[in-house]
C-alpha cells in the first residue's frame, strides 16, 4: 500500500469519525491505533501508541493551561470581568464597536504574557464572550474576535511555536521574536479594521451601551477607569515578572492565578465556594483538552514512521516553478495540514523539509519562520481541527455549538490570509525590526 493511499485513508477516516460526532480525541486515537496495528502488528503497534500517548504527560508547556483557565474562572466568577467590561464600554462612550476593539487590544496585551495558545482563548471566552453578548454584540462577531485575537499568543512574543521553529530550523530565536512582533500587531490591526467596517455597515451588530454614563464628556468618563485598574495591575504584574526575569512564562501564569485570587479578596468577593467552583470548572476544561492532545500526538508518531514526511518532501521537490511559487505551495501545504493535524506535527513534518529549501532558494529563514507562525494562526481557527475553536467551545455558553464557532471564524481566517499575503510579498513588514537590531 502506497503512502499516498494511506495518507488519503487517514484523512478520510478522520473526517468520517469527526462528522459522526465521535469525540475528537477518540477520533485521532482510533485512527492511530488502527494504522499502528495494521502497519506494525500487535507488539510494535501497541508500543508506538503507548510511548507517544505517555509522552504527552511530560509536556511541561501544557501546565500553563490550567493556570490560565483557573485565573480566568476566578476573574469571571468574582465579578472583576463584569466591572472591567462595563468600564471599557463606558470609556468607549458612544463610539460604535469600542468594546470589540478594546477586546482586541486586551488580547494583544495578554499575548505578550503567554507563549502558548489556549489559555488566552479560554480566558477571553470566559471573560469577554459573556460580557460582549450581554452588551448586545453580534454572537458571530464576538466569537470570531475572541478566537482570532486570542490566538495571537503564539505570534506575538514570547511564543512556543517560534521557539520550537527556531530549534528545528536552527534560526536565531531573538530574531524570530523581533520579526514576529510587527506581523502580530498587523493582524490585530486587520481585525480592528474589520470590526469597525462591519459595525458601520450593520450597526445592530454592536449596539451602543445605552446608559447615561456613556453620554458623558470624556473627562468625566475617566472616573469609571477604576474598573480597569485592578485587572491592569494583575496583567502588569504578570508581564512584569516575565520581562524583569523573576519568573518563566509558565511560573508567571501561576503567579497570575494567585494574583487573581488576591484581587478577588481585595474586592471582598473571595469565598471558598467561588474558589471551589472555579477549580471544578478548570478540571472539566483541562480534562477535555488533554484527550485531544493525546490522540493527535500518537497519530504524528505513526505517520512519521510510515514515511509521511518523506512523502511530502518528495511532492515538494518534484515541483518546477518560480521560487516564490514554491513558498506559496509550502504555505498551502501547511494550511491544508493545519485543518487536521496538531501544530507540533505540522512543524516536525514540514520545517525539516522546508527550511533547507527556503535557504537554498535565497530567502531568509527568519521571514519564513514568521510566515510559518502566521500560518499556524490559520491552523488554530480552520475547521475541522481548529484548536482555538475547541478551546472556546470548552468554555462557551451551552447554546453555542462548535459549528457556530466554525462559521464565526471564517471571515477572520480570510483576514489572517490577507496578513499572510502582505508579509509574503512585503518581507520588510517582518524583517525591519531584526535588521534594526543588527
Amino acid at each position: 500500500m502506497g503512502i499516498e493511499f494511506i495518507t488519503l485513508l487517514i484523512v478520510l477516516s478522520l473526517l468520517a469519525l469527526m462528522a459522526l460526532g465521535v469525540p475528537l480525541g477518540v477520533t485521532t486515537l482510533t485512527v492511530s491505533l488502527g494504522t499502528a496495528l495494521l502497519y506494525f502488528g500487535e507488539r510494535a503497534g501497541f508500543f508506538i501508541v503507548a510511548a507517544n500517548v505517555g509522552e504527552v504527560l511530560h509536556k511541561y508547556e501544557l501546565i500553563a493551561v490550567p493556570f490560565f483557565v483557573f485565573m480566568a474562572n476566578v476573574l469571571e466568577r468574582s465579578g472583576i470581568a463584569k466591572t472591567l467590561f462595563d468600564s471599557m464600554a463606558i470609556m468607549g462612550g458612544r463610539f460604535r464597536g469600542s468594546v470589540g476593539v478594546q477586546t482586541c487590544i486586551v488580547a494583544v496585551v495578554l499575548a505578550a504574557m503567554s507563549g502558548i495558545m489556549g489559555g488566552e482563548i479560554v480566558m477571553l471566552g470566559l471573560i469577554a464572550l459573556p460580557q460582549m453578548l450581554r452588551l448586545g454584540y453580534d454572537k458571530k462577531l464576538s466569537i470570531g474576535i475572541i478566537c482570532a485575537a486570542g490566538a495571537l499568543a503564539t505570534l506575538i512574543p514570547p511564543s512556543v511555536v517560534l521557539i520550537i521553529y527556531g530549534l528545528a530550523a536552527q534560526v536565531s530565536i531573538t530574531k524570530l521574536f523581533a520579526a514576529s512582533a510587527g506581523p502580530g500587531v498587523l493582524l490585530a490591526a486587520l481585525y480592528i479594521g474589520y470590526i469597525l467596517l462591519r459595525v458601520r455597515l450593520n450597526p445592530s451588530m454592536a449596539p451602543i451601551y445605552d446608559i447615561p454614563e456613556t453620554g458623558l464628556p470624556f473627562m468625566q468618563r475617566l472616573k469609571f477607569m477604576k474598573g480597569v485598574i485592578l485587572p491592569a495591575i494583575l496583567i502588569g504584574s504578570v508581564l512584569g515578572v516575565i520581562y524583569s526575569g523573576i519568573a518563566t512564562v509558565t511560573e508567571a501564569a501561576a503567579i497570575g492565578a494567585v494574583g487573581a485570587v488576591v484581587i478577588a479578596g481585595i474586592r471582598k468577593e473571595l469565598s471558598w465556594r467561588m474558589l471551589r467552583d472555579s477549580m471544578r470548572q478548570t478540571v472539566l476544561t483541562v480534562g477535555s483538552i488533554i484527550w485531544l492532545v493525546l490522540g493527535a500526538v500518537s497519530l504524528i508518531g505513526i505517520y512519521n514512521r510510515i514515511g509521511g514526511g518523506e512523502f511530502l518532501r518528495g511532492v515538494l521537490t518534484g515541483l518546477d516553478v518560480a521560487p516564490i511559487v514554491v513558498i506559496i505551495v509550502m504555505m498551502l501545504i501547511v494550511m491544508v495540514l493545519g485543518t487536521f493535524l496538531e501544530w507540533i506535527a505540522i512543524l516536525f513534518i514540514t520545517v525539516p523539509i522546508f527550511a533547507p529549501v527556503v535557504v537554498a532558494l535565497g530567502y531568509d529563514p527568519v521571514w519564513f519562520g514568521v510566515l510559518f507562525a502566521m500560518n499556524i494562526q490559520i491552523y488554530y481557527l480552520s475547521p475541522p481541527f481548529g484548536p482555538a475553536c475547541f478551546f472556546l467551545k470548552s468554555v462557551a455558553p451551552k447554546e453555542i455549538e462548535l459549528q457556530d464557532i466554525f462559521l464565526a471564524v471564517l471571515p477572520f481566517i480570510g483576514l489572517q490570509a490577507v496578513g499572510l499575503l502582505l508579509v509574503l510579498f512585503i518581507p520588510d513588514l517582518a524583517l525591519w525590526l531584526p535588521s534594526m537590531l543588527n
Binding site: E55, A168, T174, T248, G301
Partner: protein
Amino acid sequence: QTLNIQTSFNAGDFSTQFLTDKWLPKIEEMTDGRIKIVLTPNGSVVPARETPEAVAAGVLDGDFTSVNYFAGLEPAYAIMGDLISGYDTPEQMLGFCKDGGGEAMMQKAADSVTGGEVHVVACGPYSKESLPARVPINTFEDLAGKKIRSPEGLAAAVFKAAGASPVSIPFSEVYGALEKGIVDAADASAYVNNSTSGLHDVAPYPLYPGIHSMPSMQFTINEETWEKISPEDQKALHDWWYDAMFAMAKETARLDKELAERDEAGGKIHVINWAQADRDKMRDVARKQWEEYAKKSPLAQEALDANLKYMTEIGLFKE
C-alpha cells in the same frame, strides 16, 4: 536493506546535515548498496526516552542517540552518557568506547533494560558542549552562587558540589531564562549550535571549550535484524560509525573554534577559556560526585570503574 534509525539530533541540526550529506551515502558504498540507513529526527517516531524499548519491539531498526535519556532506567547510563567534567576531548572518550571496553559496558546496560533484544554496535561522543553564560565565570571559584540550568542528575550534583545552584527548567524555557536572568548560565549544546540558535545574543560570556558536559551516544540495532546482517557488513557498520563520529568530532571542533574566534574578534561576545588549573579542580570535585552517583547500582559502579581505569591509562588521573 533499509535501516530506520531514530537519532537524538533535531532535524535542522548541523549534525543531521553532516551525516545525511556526507556519511549516509558512504555506508551504501561500503556495503555495495546492501545497507541503506534512514535517520529520523529526535522524538519523531517515539519519545527520546523510549528508543531502547522501541528498538527491542522492532518499531525502530535502531537508534543513534544520547544515552543520557536512559539514566532514569539504569543509573549506569548517566555515567556512560555524560561523565560530567571527565574527559577533555571527544576523541579520548571515543577511544574508551572503541578500545577501552566501553562498547561491552554499553551492551550490559542495554541488556539490563531490554533483555537482550538490542545489539550495541558502537558508542561515543562527538562534541564537548560549551556553557553559555550571561555573566563572566572566569574561574572555578566564580561558580559559587551562580544559578545554572542543569536538569540532569549528575550535572546538577557536580555544579552543586562546585558551589553553584542548579536550576531545573525545561529546554524550551532556556532562551527566555537566560535573556531575563532567571539563570546565569545554562547547559545547552555545542558552541556552533548555541551560536546559530542565538543563545549568545542573550548569554554573551560562553565558556568555551566547555567545562562540564560531553554527551555520549550509542548506535544500536535490533538484535534479530543484526543477526541477519553478514559479518562483513556488520564490521562495515561498526567502522562506518566510528569514522563518521571522528569526522564529526573534528568538524564540530573546527566550526566551534572558527566561530569562537570570530565572536571574540567581534567584541560583542566574550569567550571565556578556563585555565588548566581550574579545569583540574573541577574534575577533582566532579570525581567525588561520580563516585557518589555510582553507588546507585552495581552496573553504574562497573561503568565508573571502567572509565576511571581508562582515564588513568591515558593520563587524566595519576595512579
